[in-house]
């Protein structure tokens, strides 16, 4: 057998063996991975809504139980109506409600933003006044660990709590990430619309600011509803 045919054979066999190995690992581990991703989403929705203590470790069934008790997954249309079924006409976007004894405490929006290296995905929870942020959580990103990656840390996400998406005059302002500390960089009037930035990661902050603005604009119709009409009872939606 000539050398090149031998090499070719060896290469083919090696590739077959390694693809078999990888396929086996991929299919074998997939259920575990999917369960992790699913649980992680639930955990982050609850975290955004402030239903989980960030310092505490939760078992997966605990998370699932709290999620089922508290969170309802629904849809909202362009006019800000909250509907149960995705089957209706018009463009529908997902929304989660955090409910306690029929009272809607907060509503949670999925965040899908551009980041420096890849997508940033997470959840932003707003209180039932339609203006105050109840919490923020990130479950997927590809930012540099230690720099932009800090967006997944509690210190960064905690800064969102209590901030406003509307300005002093009541008009929509969105929420932005400042370059550096809010107290030093931002005039007093606007401080409620800014959170502290991450040093060394101003681009991540810039993209996330843009992403949050886009999402909040999309959900503005429903936020207006919350601000004006006080949709507070879950049973009224149903």
């Amino acid at each position: 057998m000539s050398d090149s045919i031998k090499s070719l054979l060896f290469a083919i066999i090696l590739c077959l063996v390694s693809s078999l190995l990888l396929t086996a690992a991929y299919t074998g581990l997939k259920p575990f991975q999917q369960k992790n991703v699913f649980l992680d989403k639930q955990k982050n929705i609850l975290m955004a809504a402030g239903m989980l203590d960030r310092e505490k470790k939760y078992q997966s069934d605990e998370v699932q139980q709290i999620f089922e008790e508290r969170i309802v997954s629904l849809w909202t249309d362009e006019d800000g109506n909250i509907v149960e079924d995705a089957g209706g006409e018009g463009k529908l976007i997902p929304i989660y409600l955090c409910v306690e004894n029929d009272k809607i405490i907060s509503y949670i929006l999925p965040i899908d933003s551009r980041g420096l290296w890849g997508k940033i995905r997470g959840y932003l929870a707003l209180q039932n006044d339609g203006a105050t942020i109840a919490g923020f959580a990130v479950y997927q990103h590809a930012e540099t660990p230690g720099l932009g990656g800090e967006i997944e840390k509690a210190w960064f996400q905690k800064n969102f709590v209590g901030k406003k998406i509307i300005g002093k005059d009541g008009s929509f302002e969105s929420i932005s990430i400042a370059k550096g500390e809010v107290s030093k960089r931002i005039p007093e009037v606007q401080q409620a619309n800014y959170v502290d930035g991450i040093s060394g990661a101003s681009l991540t902050g810039k993209y996330l600011t843009e992403g949050l603005r886009e999402v909040l604009t999309d959900y503005e119709p429903v936020s207006i509803r919350f601000r004006g009409e006080n949709i507070i009872r879950y049973s009224e939606i149903k």
């Binding site: 090149s4 060896f10 290469a11 090696l14 390694s18 990888l22």
Partner: protein, 205 residues
Amino acid sequence: MSESTDKLITTASEPVWKNNPISIQYLGICSALAVTVQMKTAIIMSLSLMFVVAFSNLTVSLLRSIIPRNIRILVELVIISTLVILADQVLRAFLYDISKQLSIFVGLIITNCIVMGRAETYALNNPPIQSFADGIGSGMGYGLVLTSAAFLRELFGSGSIMGYNVIPSSFYDAGYENMGLMLLAPGAFIIIGLFSWMQQTIMNK
């Protein structure tokens, strides 16, 4: 202790200090810059790399007599990438939080020159067990530099160790500030440079 275990220990300890992959051979610098902002990521990255080098060395060494010389680099690459993807998949299935933190860096072990370098210069010419020991040693040497650099960077850059704050807030009140340079890649360059200098000075005594 028997002679063969003695030899194994020598093989494994050589790349930890005397032939350190980063500070002596200057390989794998790129990942050393990227993951040393915090100690936790540095440690897990070192462990993942150790796993990959050890097993890629073992596999390459087992196959060394039948690997055709003209395509050996490609063969090494296939073996290494298979192992890296396996490690990544296992982390995702069982250590999801950690795999999320390391994000893209586990995948980037494929391009880490240490893995390829050890397969090419050591595993192709040495028996399997020896090669495995060499891989473990290289992983430890990599880990030594990474954790030392990460310790300094996290301490001076963020004022914490392993995520716990160690600089009291009274220091900050008195005007102490975290060093922003430490969080950026040039800070890592300087530290690794100093580490290498220090090591060479000690060794040349």
